[in-house]
């Protein structure tokens, strides 16, 4: 058992202070480090242009790095002077548009990466085909498949090669919303089932939070926070992560012994900052409420989300997002006041 735990904590992928750029002026990845343990499902989360896809391309070897090291199971894959070509890395990739070969049928696509002379495990291939439920359309061509079917074929094609690491580049963004959630769950289960280590690239925080064991938040080519979904959700390191992970209100206030005094009232922080200073805090929409007896704010937007009303209220100085459940309904353009329902907050790093 202990052996097993130790094995799990051994990083399978080590990315060590890598730098990568397409041209001299522009650094795409800079001083980026990341360790991934065996069997983990990691999401790389960030806005478009943050360097997510470039990170994926240096891991699978489609791009060469300028500095640093990338190792898989301890074996060096990339450094400034060394580069193992993509076909010799045991790294599978699922492309955003699936990249299925249109001149081959489903079966030929799945067997594409297998060589007869290497004596692959036929029962494993069949196992994958059954697991992904693609056996019914093995003879079909790619343009006869639906989005979800293409997704599964593309996954099967990579998995039959037993990759040590599977990379997925926004694999669900091309699917319909309803289908997306369903396929996402199914694929997560399949990947756990065969104990695959996965790195998922996404800009969808909901996707990252629901699927991952850990999330790496990438900004301008650097990983600025790496932690569990719980950690990232409740303790975002800074304003950018907080805002991108969920609807957040970032407030400024004076900190004195863990009590933060803001314009709309007092908040408490578990981490007691001794010195008196200006801090930023992250207040979720659930922690605030609106009332009719004060009239400082105007409701400028109203959304109905998963059974609750989300109101955006503003006055000349501030703008807040407030989530209200089981309460009376407020109306657009109504004058309201804001109250604190839950005062426990996290202080953000000022950056």
């Amino acid at each position: 058992m202990t052996q097993d735990i130790e094995d799990k904590n051994q990083p399978i992928l080590e990315i060590d202070e890598i730098f990568f750029s397409y041209s001299k002026n522009e650094k795409i990845l800079s001083n980026l480090s990341l360790n991934v343990n065996k069997g983990e499902f990691i999401s790389i989360l960030g806005d478009s242009g943050a360097g997510k896809t470039s990170l994926l391309r240096v891991i699978n070897g489609l791009e060469k790095i300028d500095e640093g090291y990338i190792r898989l199971e301890g074996q060096l894959l990339s450094s400034a002077f060394y580069h193992i070509s993509p076909e010799k890395r045991s790294v599978g990739t699922i492309f955003q548009d699936f990249a299925l070969f249109p001149h081959l049928n489903v079966k030929e696509n799945i067997y594409f990466g297998l060589n007869k002379k290497d004596k692959y495990d036929e029962t494993f291939v069949e196992h994958i085909i059954n697991l992904l439920r693609v056996e019914k359309y093995l003879n079909r061509y790619v343009d006869e498949l639906s989005g979800g079917q293409k997704q599964r074929v593309s996954l099967a094609r990579s998995l039959v090669r037993k990759p040590k690491l599977l990379l997925m580049d926004e694999p669900f963004s091309n699917l319909d919303r309803g289908l997306r959630v369903e396929i996402r769950r199914e694929i997560k289960m399949i990947l756990k089932n065969i104990d695959t280590t996965v790195i998922l690239i996404t800009h969808d925080s909901e996707e990252a939070l629901s699927l991952s064991d850990k999330i790496a938040f990438i900004l301008r080519g650097e990983i600025i926070q790496y932690g569990t979904p719980f950690d990232i959700f409740y303790n975002p390191k800074n304003e950018i992560i907080a805002k991108s992970i969920r609807n957040s209100n970032i407030l400024e206030g004076e900190n004195s012994n863990g009590i933060i005094i803001t314009e709309i009232g007092k908040f408490k922080s578990q981490s007691k900052f001794k010195d008196k200073s200006k801090v930023k805090i992250n207040v979720s929409p659930n922690q605030l409420g609106i009332v009719r007896d004060k009239k400082q704010f105007t409701i400028i937007q109203k959304e109905f989300i998963e059974g609750d009303y989300l109101y955006i209220i503003e006055n000349s100085d501030n703008k807040f997002i407030v989530r209200m459940n089981n309460s009376e309904e407020f109306f657009l353009n109504e004058k309201v006041g804001v109250v604190i329902k839950d005062s426990n907050v996290q202080i953000l790093n000022i950056s």
Partner: protein, 541 residues
């Protein structure tokens, strides 16, 4: 097919990767091929008089100016009319509810099967003085003169009919994959039909038009048969006349150099109008929405039929008429069988060899090695622009002087075809390869296939329709080729084109009818089957 794959894997692709010399071998091989392509240029440089005073005196005189204007106006007019014919033709045949469009698509390609000298002789029979049109008019009216068919306009007419299919085929392929929703989107954004055409349709077909026009311009620049029969003086006829009528060959090299200069100007223009080659195709092939022509379809149908009628069926009728006349006059056909066999076998071999040789050149071009890739790509076009007679002369010169064992062998003949026709296969294959989604190549690499295996299993396999197209195109070009075949083939090796020429040049058209018909049929069948139907559907998809 499985066997071919296994063979490639075991004996070619894997060893190449293991030895780590694959890239260098291919690279060196394509450099060698490029040197061969440039042989005519080297020849001209060696032979040209380096007395610059004479050289410039020669270039800047009235005759040369006249010659240049003639050649350039012919090139410009033929390109212009080819676009005018093929653009609406391709659109109507592929994306409208025109009746019989299934057949019209293929029929419209057929004029490509006619050699320019056959097209010219038959058209002269129709439009020339005392021709069929003249006789027809005389049935109703009493005229004793119709405007002359000889000269610039006749040559434009004949060459436009032969060359428009080069553009038409590419346009059909583009329109087949055209995403009609883009037109709908443009219309809903407030753009009228005219603005939609200028802003949406034209930019998408522009690269195809540029590539097709390039091929046509170079074809016209090097054509000999049509202009000489239609008595229009261009660079080619000037070169030919000087070679055969003057002892000193004075001016041949200068005019040839001028032709190459024009070729580079055309290449320059083409690369500047082509813009970025992007994949505009929609992946959804079910997108087959068609333009409803309404009552107009019955008005447009005869117009759409016109190019194939004028460019194929009427010339064929003339040939059949001559054949019947010949049979009445008891002409003999005894040499025909050997000539046919010779023509087909040399053309098949040459087209296969040339298409295969395209592969290493394309690999080097795709590698984007600074300058070198560009030089290789551009030098491929030198041969197409040069009159085949110059290509042939240069090969005679090099074989006689340095490589006598190859003189007047099939090897040299195939090298001659290679220099002349490589771009005809390079262009379409490259376009088709550029349209392959780059993530397919990357997917193959991440699935454990090395660069060579990926190139073979993904790039070549996906662009295989364009390989078929290129092979057939070169097959047809070799079938029809005349000057190089005349000069380079082994003594006594008679082909259909050489036997047609030996009679046509002496105006014994009737004797050539059988050979011409055979040639057109041999070229026409693959044209009809492959060039349009299967092809426009599959190239690049």
């Amino acid at each position: 097919m499985e066997l071919v794959n296994l063979f490639f894997d075991k004996y070619i692709l894997s060893p190449m990767e293991e030895m780590k010399i694959g890239s260098y071998t291919i690279f060196l091989f394509s450099v060698l091929l490029t040197l061969i392509l440039l042989l005519p240029l080297f020849y001209l440089i060696i032979k040209v008089s380096f007395d610059f005073r004479i050289f410039f005196d020669f270039l800047f005189n009235f005759k040369i100016l006249r010659l240049s204007i003639n050649t350039l106006s012919l090139v410009a007019l033929v390109v212009f009319f080819s676009i005018i014919i093929s653009l609406p033709l391709a659109f109507l045949n592929t994306r409208s509810n025109l009746p019989y469009s299934k057949y019209l698509i293929s029929l419209s390609v057929l004029p490509i099967a006619l050699p320019s000298y056959v097209m010219a002789t038959t058209q002269i029979q129709i439009w020339g003085p005392r021709g069929w049109v003249f006789k027809l008019i005389n049935v109703f009216f009493d005229v004793d003169y119709i405007p002359s068919f000889y000269g610039l306009w006749g040559s434009t007419f004949v060459l436009s009919l032969i060359t428009y299919p080069y553009l038409y085929i590419g346009l059909c392929a583009i329109f087949r994959r055209f995403d009609y929703e883009m037109i709908d989107a443009s219309r809903t954004l407030g753009a009228g039909i005219y603005k939609t055409f200028i802003k949406v349709i034209f930019p998408m077909v522009k690269p195809t038009i540029a590539a097709g026009s390039l091929l046509i311009a170079l074809y016209v620049l090097s054509d000999f048969g049509a202009v000489s029969l239609l008595r229009f003086t261009t660079f080619t006829t000037a070169i030919f006349n000087r070679m055969y009528t003057s002892i000193s060959n004075y001016g041949v090299l200068e005019i040839s150099l001028l032709t190459i200069l024009f070729c580079f100007i055309i290449l320059f223009l083409e690369s500047h109008t082509r813009g970025n080659e992007k994949n505009f195709s929609s992946s959804n092939l079910k997108n087959t929405k068609q333009l409803d022509l309404g009552i107009w379809k019955w008005i447009l149908l005869p117009l759409v039929l016109l190019p194939s009628l004028l460019g194929f069926f009427i010339p064929i009728s003339v040939l059949i008429y001559w054949l019947i006349q010949g049979i009445i006059n008891n002409n003999s056909f005894k040499d025909l069988f050997t000539a046919t066999l010779n023509t087909v076998s040399i053309s098949v071999i040459a087209s296969l060899v040339i298409t295969l040789l395209t592969i290493p050149i394309l690999i080097t071009i795709r590698k984007k090695i600074k300058y070198l890739s560009l030089i290789i790509e551009k030098s491929a076009y030198v041969g197409l622009s040069l009159p085949a007679i110059v290509v042939a002369m240069s090969l005679v010169f090099f074989t006689v002087n340095y490589f006598h064992i190859a003189y007047q062998t099939f090897f040299v003949l195939i090298v001659g075809y290679f220099i002349s026709f490589l771009p005809a296969s390079l262009g379409p294959i490259r376009t088709s390869m550029n349209q392959i989604n780059p993530s397919l190549e990357e997917a193959s690499l991440t699935l454990g296939k090395n660069k060579f295996q990926t190139f073979y299993k993904v790039i070549i396999k996906l662009s295989s329709p364009s390989f078929i197209y290129a092979t057939i195109l070169i097959f047809i070009l070799c079938l029809k080729e005349l000057p190089a075949t005349l000069i380079l083939s082994p003594i006594g090796f008679k082909t259909l084109s050489t036997s047609i020429w030996s009679s046509a040049s002496e105006a014994f058209f009737m004797d050539t009818a059988a050979a011409s018909l055979l040639l057109v049929i041999i070229a026409g069948i693959p044209t009809y089957i492959f060039m349009s139907r299967g092809l426009s559907k599959r190239v690049g998809d």
